[in-house]
């Protein structure tokens, strides 16, 4: 079998085992209600994680995700509640700003040759700071359009709700998969992550690709912010702290190599769902502290990074055994 698929299969297996174990203990977890909530509750995380997957595939990192989500939330609240702007127009403004923000980070990373870690760290502080400049309070959003969107769902047999934001996340994942594997842009992302110098010599438009990747991550962070604001009906400067780290965890658990060039969007989806399952388990249990989520995620991360190192080591051994004169 292709060793490339192994982390993905491992993730899928762990996900199924975890779910089976949960169902064994709490049979009620086997329901469309839980499944629907899993999608709804993790919608913003999933959307941001798609952007993060592209960034990590290209060999970079984007630490600004959480701050951009909070920024979007606050901006929407200010525009809608204070200025009476229609939500749709507010959405467009927010997406425009976050996309431009991502694109400029990409441009700095490419043209000034600064590591993405540093640039997006600065972006993280900048976006968070902008939230506080706009307001320090939590602003509720109360608009009929919001209520309409929140009330939009498809009732599954068994009482589960497939909400608008849950569907949006699934849609974003599907589009992400198509972009990654069936578009030129997607192949450029893998190329840049595989070997930047080679990609450049092979005629891959590295500048355009790098800027595009961070613009896309900015756009998806903005979209995640919109979803988050629909989910919470409020904008708050201190919201979504550390979400970038949760998305990175989902990406790595999903089998994407942090060194870039190898991974799948579908894996990230499973990574997000695994985190969701752990959280649901804790809710069902009722006695466990929610910090257990972090502990389990930590353990999973360690095991996946170890698994990846072993796989890389094995495949290196195999190629050296078959090549040479």
């Amino acid at each position: 079998m292709n060793t490339r698929l192994l982390p993905l299969c491992a993730t899928l297996l762990i996900c199924l085992i975890a779910y089976a174990a949960c169902v064994f203990q709490f049979p009620a977890m086997f329901s469309t209600r839980v499944a629907g909530n899993l999608l709804t509750d993790n919608a913003f995380l999933g959307i941001a994680a798609v952007g993060m997957t592209f960034v990590i595939l290209s060999g970079g990192i984007d630490l600004s995700v959480g701050s951009v989500i909070a920024f979007t939330g606050v901006l929407l609240a200010v525009l809608i509640t204070h200025y009476g702007v229609h939500p749709l127009i507010a959405f467009a403004i927010a997406l425009l700003i976050t996309t431009a923000f991502g694109a400029s980070m990409g441009a700095i990373i490419h043209y000034l040759e600064v590591p993405s870690f540093i640039v997006t760290l600065a972006g993280m502080f900048l976006a968070r700071g902008m939230c506080f400049v706009m307001t320090t309070d939590s602003i509720p959003i109360d608009h009929p359009f919001y209520t309409a969107l929140q009330g939009l769902f498809y009732r599954l047999p068994g009482g589960g709700r497939l909400t608008f934001i849950g569907c949006l996340m699934v849609l974003v994942f599907l589009v992400g998969i198509v972009v990654a594997h069936f578009s030129k842009f997607g192949s450029y992302i893998y190329a840049v992550g595989g070997n930047r110098t080679s990609a450049e010599l092979m005629g891959v438009p590295v500048a355009r690709t790098t800027i595009g990747i961070y613009a896309m991550s900015g756009f998806l962070s903005g979209l995640a912010g919109i979803v988050f604001s629909l989910y919470t009906s409020a904008g708050y400067s201190l919201a979504a702290v550390g979400v970038e780290l949760d998305t990175i965890a989902a990406v790595v658990i999903g089998g994407t190599l942090l060194t870039g060039g190898v991974g799948y969007i579908a894996g990230t989806f499973i990574g997000v769902i695994i985190q969701g399952i752990i959280q649901t388990y804790i809710v069902f249990d009722g006695t466990l502290s929610s910090w257990w989520t972090k502990i389990v995620v930590g353990v999973l991360l360690f095991s996946f990074i170890a698994l990846q190192r072993i796989l890389v080591f094995l495949s290196l051994k195999r190629t050296t055994a078959t090549s040479g004169g």
């Binding site: 595989g194 010599l201 005629g203 891959v204 190898v262 495949s315 050296t320």
Partner: protein, 505 residues
Amino acid sequence: MTDKPGLLAVEGISKSFVGFKALDGVDFTVRPGEIHALLGENGAGKSTLIKVLTGVHQPDAGVIKIDGQPVAMRDTQHAQHLGIGTVYQEVNLLPNMSVADNLFIGRQPMRFGFVNRKLMEKQALELLAQYDLHLDVSSDLSRYSVAVQQLVAIARAVDMSGRVLVLDEPTASLDRHETEILFAILRQLRARGFGIVFITHFLDQVYEICDRVTVLRNGKLAGSALTAELPKIDLVSLMLGRALAVATHNTRHDRPVPAIKPFSFKGLGRSRSIAPFDLDIGEGEVIGMAGLLGSGRTETAKILFGIDAADTGHIRIDGHPVLIRTPQDAVACGFGLCPEDRKSDGIIGDLSVRENICLALQAQKGWFNRLSSREQISLADKFVKALDIRTTDIEKPIKFLSGGNQQKVILARWLATNPRFLILDEPTRGIDVGAHAEIIALINRLCDDGMALLVISSEIEEIVAYSTRVIVLRDRAHRGEISGDDITTSNIMQMIAAESEGASA
């Protein structure tokens, strides 16, 4: 000489890197329907000229003309649009992507706005079939050997080139058969009116296929002529700027084989890699190892040096049994190995020439017993002089050296450890004629000093020139040994050929 107009021409190109003039007023013209060899010593500026031609570097002065029209080459993509396909010296492809992706990235067949993978893979199979390559095009490129990757890079460049094809040392890691296939394709392209630039250090290949040669020396144009009008001797002097001291022909054959052989390997082997073999080496011996690519030469070196652990066999040094399971063990026993693939196993690009030279010696001494800066500098200076490594100073990061000069630095690294037994895997690959002769002289000198050497090489003349014994390999097994006056090119060739016939019969 200017019978046909230039398809691609450069005039007065200059290019400096931080004060170092890599190209100085070079003129170069490729005409349609010709294969044009670009020659010169290591560091002469050939690869730099190619990179300027194809938009990787911007020239400081001079113009690039296509069909007589000046163009400002923006980047590699621009060059591709103008119909120039290139294989750079560092065959850089994308090991994490599939073979088909590597062939078609940037120009994948599309359907309804999406990449049509099925069609792409079908086209990839057809394309590679022309090179007698039958691969699983959907699997990762990294699964295949360096030679296959090189062919994939060539296939990509040929397929992309509309009119001009540039190949920077394409044959360095190809075997005879693969080279033949490449040449057949180049001849076809020439007949179709392509202009082809061909860089190599194999002068025989220049005379075999090239119509015209242009020689660079120290970044300047040394001369340009039709191949047919330029005898080899003159070509070599044009490249070196002096006559080549004729390599003294082998005097080693009649040497008595030393009676005591301190290094003894018995029944060493590894399943699926190399069949068990015996090898005894005495001090002052040079064992040449001949065989086709993939015959088990590199595998032998890897087992001897502990990179791959042997499944069977045992090793004795000076009569004492020793265990070699890792390269560290091998180094502790006084072994050295100069590897074949300098890009992945050899150089550390960001470290300076000095640091790269001192690396193995430092590792051997242990990290707490640091070489003083003075020792490091004198060591580096000594080898830069001894091997004629062309660099502006010893603190230059090695990645900025030309390919051949990087190779010399790796050689220096292992010589610096002063090993008792040194394994050289393709020591002269990518090295110019002048340095080639120097390295052969060096091998002879080391052997006189009592070092035991094992040299793997695809160049049989070279093996003949320094070996005291020759081992011939085929199909991952040691098949025979030649010694004394029997060491001749034809004998070795016969042994390789006779055995392959035996296999096909």
